[in-house]
Amino acid sequence: MVEQEIYAKLNEVFRDVFDDDEVIVKPETTAADVDGWDSLAHIRLMLTVEKAFGVKFAAADIAGLKNVGELANLIETRR
């Protein structure tokens, strides 16, 4: 999957999870940048990403993510 496609799909996911049609994610986006991205929403985000991309994450994967860029890389590796 081309990087552009991944980010396009991630935008859809973020908009769905955070109920915000204006959200646009970039590699440097972190939890601090998105309204409502707390630990509870983080779990929901990861599960929605799994479903949307057809991937499965391990607990270790999810814990260490620093920003959306690392998430995008993770998706690429798990596909």
Binding site: V17, I43, R44, L47, T48, A58, A59, I62
Partner: protein, 655 residues
Amino acid sequence: MTDNLYTALGWLPSPPTDFAAQCRALAQTDSNNPVDLGKPIRRLASRSLDENQLIRLGKTIVAARRDGRSLAPLTPLRLGIIGNGTLDHLVLPLIASAARHGVALDCVVGHYDQVLQEALDPVSEINSTKLDAVLIAVDYRGLPLVAEPGNAEQAQASVEAALRFLDTVANGIRQHGNALPIVQTLAPPPETLFGSRDAAVPGTTRSLVERINDELVRRVATSDSILFDVNALAQTVGLANWHSPSQWNLAKYPFADTYLPLYAEHVGRLLGAARGKSRRVLILDLDNTLWGGVIGDDLLEGIRIAQGDAVGEAHLSVQKMALALRERGVVLAVSSKNNDDTARLPFREHPEMLLREHHFAVFQANWNDKATNIQAIAQALSLGIESMVFLDDNPVERNLVREMLPEVAVPELPDDPSLYARTLNAGGYFEALAFVAEDKQRAAFYQDNARRIALQSQAGDLDAYLKSLDMHITFAPFDDVGRTRIVQLINKSNQFNLTTRRYTEADIVQLEADADNFTLQVRLTDTFGDNGMISVVICRPSSPTLDNRSTSAVADTWEIDTWLMSCRVLGRKVEDMVLCEVLAHAARRGIERVIGRYVPTERNALVKDHYAKLGFTPIGEHDDGATVWEMSTATPKPVEHFAVHRNGFDVTLPA
């Protein structure tokens, strides 16, 4: 396919593509024209929403409530949740799912993993908030289940300790929080120590959980707690699917997130049932639903219902399910596009049919559109449109009814008729909290009543007709035997209900204990059979603050707190007879005046003039349309046509 049924709530139609926009539109306030939001919210909720959509709708409902918008006609209910895992993620999906079942839910979660504290501390957050019910979401990890495999004594002690724990929690909630406990059965993990042997070895998790569940079900059935059979739900989708080790490790989710909409839906059903919102009527299409083929074209020889024919057996399974539902009190009706005679032919002449004409309370076979038919069925049964479920293989018909009558539940059906019965059943439209003898006969009652209504229109002279019914009415105070049915009526009656006050069984017990209150349960039989309990009345001494015309220190006035009746017995002067009985008892106890109150709701316009018709004098009206009436007890007016019987009163009255 089956997985989709449960994870994606396959019996519900898909949400509209502009779902998010519709939620936002609900939030817009037009302050010049405040609209009741309950109906549009329920319509949006009645789709197969995923977790994110449930959250979005839940937020909409919470915001609407916070902005002071009316959520009528959704019925309010305040729920607390305590448990041993993460529970916060349940709140918004529960609120949205409750709306699907006609309930405006307010939901608060106790502190993380503080089950005992929340239940036993009289000033805990859960106990200090005025809640109607508390969901005890404890799973097998939250119980002291410690036993060596094979150690029967330890196993016994462990089971007892677990049950004691749950009892303590439930009692704490009842006593300190005055709320109804909702108790969950335990879903065991799929892992076993031996394999098949686990069930037989005391002390294995499998065996402990099974014994606890058995005893739990028995205890809850004889209490006023509500049972939530999570074990059955988990087994339906598969224990290995239900339990997600990674999600427990990561976030302490008690069950896999993919089942959140399903879990919330099942809690929504229970809450809806508690508020009298469960459906009561199953309306069936005929062609390609109850049999394979079209009777008008394929004729008796060509329709498929035979054993040994896969298609035939599929449709027979729908008939079997309908019959079983009827056995437990669901009313059956037919709505089919056919000539009447043609439609009745298989019921009359096909040897393999399980359903026969006499199983249906109403049979509408004609060329009208089905929405019109369904309305006619509702009218014939004196039941609201929201009581109806409509099963039809044809998506065009399904969508028509959804458009024209959004309050009717219309399950989506898959292409394969083998799955029709399973899909209908998965929809859980007829959830019930209790099962009393009268429920079994309910379908027959409705049939008899439909017959009576038909007869009455032929009868002409009302008095002669009433006499011909040979009615016997039995009055008694509330008692243990009638209590379950009384509580059921109090919580289910919507149309003939003057004040729509809902009481739990505990409330009723308390009410009975106060000798100043007057309670009345009324039963009626006639030539068609036993109607069972058809009216419930509660009178309380009128408090001086409500009634500023009373000058005596001792109460000389009763207020009718609750008066409800079954719509089945309307038009027979039963109301007059019940009033006569109330006045007679009141006079006996030195009461001089009886006050009645009409509190308008969306469903009870039927009884707006009830007190006027009975000859009460109006004494007040409030801004919200509530009216207050009074009548002196000096002039009871007995009604002819009734043979009167009494049980359980400690005074004798003239017969």
